[in-house]
Symmetry: C4
């Protein structure tokens, strides 16, 4: 079942390796089939070079394994929480990419210092608060999803398509598994740029709001003029 989505999810997981976002079994990508409400996700702890598309695990929102010989990623419940909260998401990724993790461990938002950032993220990339001991004990992965949702708050999740979980690392998302990976790669790259900018100029402030607005609106929304339009007038 869902063979086409499994292939997409598998390809997106392998893209994490190609882009240098993960080593070993770190990281996981999922996709959702909104019609059935089923989530396809990388199995837990299986080496990337042993994975095949058919190894992807299919689970429902209650974590029941619907198909697959492997347990799903240990972070599956976090993915599910986000799919439940945000209907616009069709792909989610979690990595331990090094630059993003540096900000997660420092407990700092990635400031919006330039146009590279503004082309994808509308404003700072926030970092969640600490989970409490009780939140960790009772439902760690579920509460990781909850604290992300708490941090996104009343923003549109597609305007800040990635976030850092404190002392942990980035979760990113998109309208497909591959777009989720795309946002995870960009997030790590803008974190790298922000790190070096902060070292050069510790007093640096976010870029002017009108510049951030301009770049975000150049690529997103009804007045976008970056990229090409397909036959339906949708930006591609």
């Amino acid at each position: 079942m869902l063979e086409s989505l499994k292939k997409e999810v598998y390809d997106a997981n392998m893209e994490l390796v190609t882009k240098g976002m993960v080593i070993y079994t770190w990281g996981n990508v999922s996709g959702i089939d909104r019609k059935t409400g089923l989530v396809v996700i990388k199995p837990s702890g299986v080496d990337y070079d042993e994975l095949t598309a058919s190894d992807m695990t299919v689970v429902d929102f209650d974590m029941n394994i619907i198909e697959g010989r492997y347990r799903p990623s240990s972070d599956t419940k976090t993915h599910i929480r986000l799919y439940q909260a945000y209907k616009s998401l069709a792909g989610i990724v979690h990595t331990h990419s090094a630059w993003a993790v540096a900000f997660a461990q420092a407990g700092m938002a990635v400031p919006a210092l330039g146009t590279t950032h503004a082309d994808y993220f509308y404003g700072e990339i926030p970092c969640t608060r600490d989970l409490t001991g009780e939140e960790i004990e009772t439902d760690y992965e579920g509460n990781t999803g909850a604290v992300i949702i708490e941090t996104v708050a009343d923003k549109d999740p597609m305007e800040v398509p990635g976030i850092n979980v404190k002392n942990h690392g980035p979760f990113a998302w998109g309208k497909s598994p591959s777009e989720a990976v795309y946002h995870a790669v960009v997030m790590d790259k803008v974190a790298e740029m922000a790190y070096h900018t902060l070292a050069l100029n510790p007093q640096v402030k976010n870029a002017p709001q009108y510049l951030l607005d301009k770049h975000y609106s150049r690529k997103h929304g009804s007045n976008a003029y970056y990229g090409q339009e397909n036959e339906k007038g949708r930006r591609i």
Copy 2:
């Protein structure tokens, strides 16, 4: 039309990928045919691995698409402004390469700390001022060109063949599309070296002027003795 220039521009764009200057669709290279006044440039937002030489877009100075099935890069107007202002330029490149961007975001010039820098850039690599909100609203890409020209001021643009736009990133140029890319790669590398030098020694000053003069003149101008001469006595 301009098939040979399209090939040059295409090759130069692909060189950005090979040299690690860009990921995804970031960055763009153009070339100009001075006889017809036509500019050949990478299309906007098309993946590098789907590009072919014949996909390059041909535009005139008024941004009319003369040939090509894709819209030109959203930065095309910036390129055109520079071609209009500087007759010696035949290739221009824009990237978001990480070390150069760090200085752009910090709003700092790349200081001239050594011979690697001085072999290509005569003096610091400047960073433009902020664009005003009005400049961004009325003609963002045109004014990006204008602020570069304002910053180059009365210098010969070929003596500082690259510059950072504040909170944005590097533009570089040369006597051909491939030389423009060459200068963009060097600019990123000397930015990397300057970053680490500043971290080791925050009080560091520019290298002695006579050393900078020596290295620049060893490679450029009538007394150059670096490299080889071709049959016409021109340095290659």
Copy 3:
């Protein structure tokens, strides 16, 4: 003799190259056959691209060469000391990987700043004290083993499967030669992350203990639920 172990040790040594942990002849991996008490280790100073599995040297606990045409690694005695002290170890690796060495040279423990760290190391990755001049003069490699053992102290070595030797670099270990390399790679990666975190936030503290506990126990011990189980119920 021990051809299968030689192959394992050889593969683990080559993995050091593939993972970017070593250049030239730096680094060495060993494995032990607990039945015979013999140690198989990389020869000293032989280029990686000239090595074959049959070049691995077999030594006993008294440093006698039991088989092999090459002298064993100059660090062999350190490996032997650790095998003697810790019966649970079946593979040991020493590298000069750059991020771990930075902490070894700074004489600092790698703090436990996040879940990437906690998934593998239960608490900080310590750095030994300086060896004394006398310890170096009388039995350098043996005393390097001794000071590692002194630093591990009463901890289970498998809970902190790597340690830095002051002004020198990392030793890591595991239940097999390949697991030892795995831990060495992870140690270097978490050192990289910790370095950048400390630069962003010099006052950063270790992650909350309950988060560290959670992640370590998610992957290790009787309540682990990361990864897959094999037919015998053992986590793989």
Copy 4:
């Protein structure tokens, strides 16, 4: 003539590319034939991917081109000065490798912080003083050699087989062109490690002298026991 040495010099130049020490035409390696006193060196400003072994230029100590269709490297005179001063050298290399250049631009010695350093360099890797304007005007490349010799002073050049020229970059040497490259690569790597160590612990001191002595003597001199011995008892 000297075809075998040309091949060695060519291979060593290409090794600079493989090891990531140079981009474009940066860097040059030479070798000397002590019998004839002739130096074989990379031509100036020719792309690495167009070079062949037979393109290497042969010059005498007076800079006369004895064989070759290209001008020799613009740094040739520096190489010659060093060959004249130090009879034990048979290969010299100059690069602009980024970590070493950071120290050259900062005007700082690379401190001897650990065993990686001590395995190859006996003590700090010094940085020369500034050349004076007059030294640069009258005989830049010759005086670059002179200031290196002034900085090595009464040390054995083989005990510190590399040095930084202020605001410029590293020169390294060895008993062959390939050993010179080897030392250049190690110098860049220990500079990288020292950079990060200094960032972690700005007050760090050189490693204890007895540790530095131990590691250097383990690999060099009559009591060396690292590596293998060949049939003549010489360490390889």
